[in-house]
Symmetry: C2
DNA sequence: TTGTAGGCGTTATCAT
DNA sequence: ATGATAACGCCTACAA
């Protein structure tokens, strides 16, 4: 393996000089910069990021903390896009990343997780799928030892940012469209996880819309479960005009239930997953670009690692209807 | 951060002694072992794996090399299970892993990839989704610089193992079942990717079965594309008795085409993805436990890293029919 | 059986 | 502007 030492020798300069060039330090003459870069190119030198991580306690290594919810089928698609979006941007930004799942830390304390991250020289983390009940993670964030970017949860401080679409507005948008298209008056709203951050936002949106348009609404918690959405629909949909769901998977459950009940009610979902194209009936939904969200999150983490302060980053959403012809390939 | 030095001081021994205890070296007395372990526990010491990786050029860090095929929807589920299975086992085996996608190395040479891996102190890789055309990866394996485990491709040597189900046998199993259930004689077989390793194995299986049962078979390449399977079905299924597909996604494409044509033909698939439960018609398919396969691959890599020699690892498969009631949750 | 010391490839401080 | 040199935390001959 060619090391910085070889480059230094080849370029006829000191190791520290090479390091300065590589890391864009000031106070290096153009001439030596050129010499060094030439040596780097000729020797095909690639800096060892492990050594760099050991040597400097700053930036460089980050972790993805993903709440892989084995209870939900749609999750694969969403998480995979999260991962791909993050890794892609990380490579661009020259950040090393390790991927971790919540279940690896079951019944571990915040301190234990922190020690693990430290043992990996992790300086920042992106957290996906955190709920209000994940007290351990809240504590991890509060410790302030790591720069954090949280997806879809309102955590912002000196070294914490959050990234996500405007869930309240998105819910309003998709519901309004569906309601206006069908002139619905009586809504069955199947919400997500009790105590979920996005759940509350979306409910707020619905309440605003109901007030504005003078509608009636029954709210039930579907826990993002297709099965529960199905049962709720079977039980309550009959004397409602429309079923609005906080996720595509629940929308699918609701839709299938309606078909079984042999009644028609418009249904809309949230997320824009591919599965929506397979269920035979088109529904309005909110398309979230998960790869883009994750990519933005990585950029945000990079900002934090460079000493900038936390903030709230809102990603755009769009409304779509997915049909089989669109997604087949 | 508490380091090995702190532990040594606390236990009243030398740093090297602590290291020996941690790494289960021989020639350490029970007494000092206990002393050291006590100190480790009291100080909540977690070894810094970055430093360990830098220090010893052996084992420790591995990479997942995933061919994320953006052209296929089913891929999310499969890759996600691959990743989860691998990471889970890696944590158990105390291996650090980084996840990489093929597209990150587009038009990079094998040498460049090797240098990147070296710069990350990577000692072994697991390769998912490699085809016969991935010459660069073949070269990477041939270089012998890294221990490799290849999923579903017949690469075995001193430091390379392969892991996967028996694709030939699995194809025979699912096809035989479908054919016998329907007393089919004339087969339309929609194969996978031209030049794919598994494609050839599965075709071999089909040919064996055709000969044994004295059937006729038309083979077409569907390239694992739902759309192509659809078109092939529209074109050729009419005067065939059964459509056997080399993937679930193609089976879905075929099935939807048959419905449009308004004719009935039994269809079977391969993989056992969740989507099979959503398309309204049950089909026979081969269930591959992707998480298990990946977990086995990680174990195998661990073996290789410990100096053992490469081999062929076969993972069990089962036949299933996925219905909506089974997968909804 | 235990400890000493050199090295892994960088970064960063401090002279020069 | 450049170059020694001491960390970073751990591993591993080798010496004691």
């Amino acid at each position: 393996m060619v090391s910085i030492k070889d480059v230094a020798k080849h370029a006829g300069v000191a190791i520290s000089t090479v390091s300065k060039v590589l890391n864009n330090y000031p106070n290096v003459s153009e001439a030596t910069k050129i010499k060094v870069n030439k040596a780097v190119a000729e020797l095909n030198f690639v800096p060892n990021s492990v050594a760099a991580a050991l040597s400097s306690k700053q930036a460089g290594r980050v972790a993805l903390l993903i709440n892989i919810n084995v209870e939900t089928n749609a999750i694969d698609e969403i998480d995979m896009r999260y991962i791909a979006g993050a890794l892609n941007k990380a490579m661009e930004l020259n950040l090393d990343v390790i991927t971790l799942f919540f279940f690896m830390f079951q019944n571990k304390t915040a301190e234990e997780i922190a020690r693990y991250l430290e043992s990996q020289s992790i300086a920042g983390v992106i957290i996906y799928g955190m709920s209000k009940e994940d007290k351990v993670l809240h504590k991890l964030i509060a410790m302030g030892k790591f720069k954090c970017v949280v997806i879809d949860a309102p955590f912002v401080n000196e070294n914490t940012s959050c990234v996500g679409v405007d869930h309240k507005q998105a819910q309003i948008d998709v519901a309004r469209k569906t309601i206006e298209e069908n002139k619905s008056k009586r809504i069955l709203y199947i919400a997500g996880k009790r105590n979920g951050y996005v759940t509350d936002e979306r409910i707020k949106g619905m309440e605003e819309l109901v007030k504005e348009k003078n509608l009636t609404m029954m709210i039930r918690n579907g826990e993002f479960s297709e099965l529960q959405a199905r049962n709720i629909t079977l039980k309550y949909a009959k004397n409602k005009d429309v079923v609005i769901c906080a996720s595509d998977l629940m929308a699918i459950g609701a839709m299938k239930a309606l078909i079984e009940m042999d009644i028609f009610r418009p249904v809309c979902g949230f997320d824009g997953i591919v599965l929506m194209g397979y269920v035979g009936k088109q529904m309005n939904t909110v398309r979230q670009d998960f790869a883009e969200i994750s990519s933005k999150a990585m950029e945000e983490l990079h900002r934090l690692l460079n000493g900038e302060t936390g903030r709230n980053v809102v990603v755009d959403h769009t409304l779509v209807r997915l049909k089989y012809e669109d997604i087949i390939c």
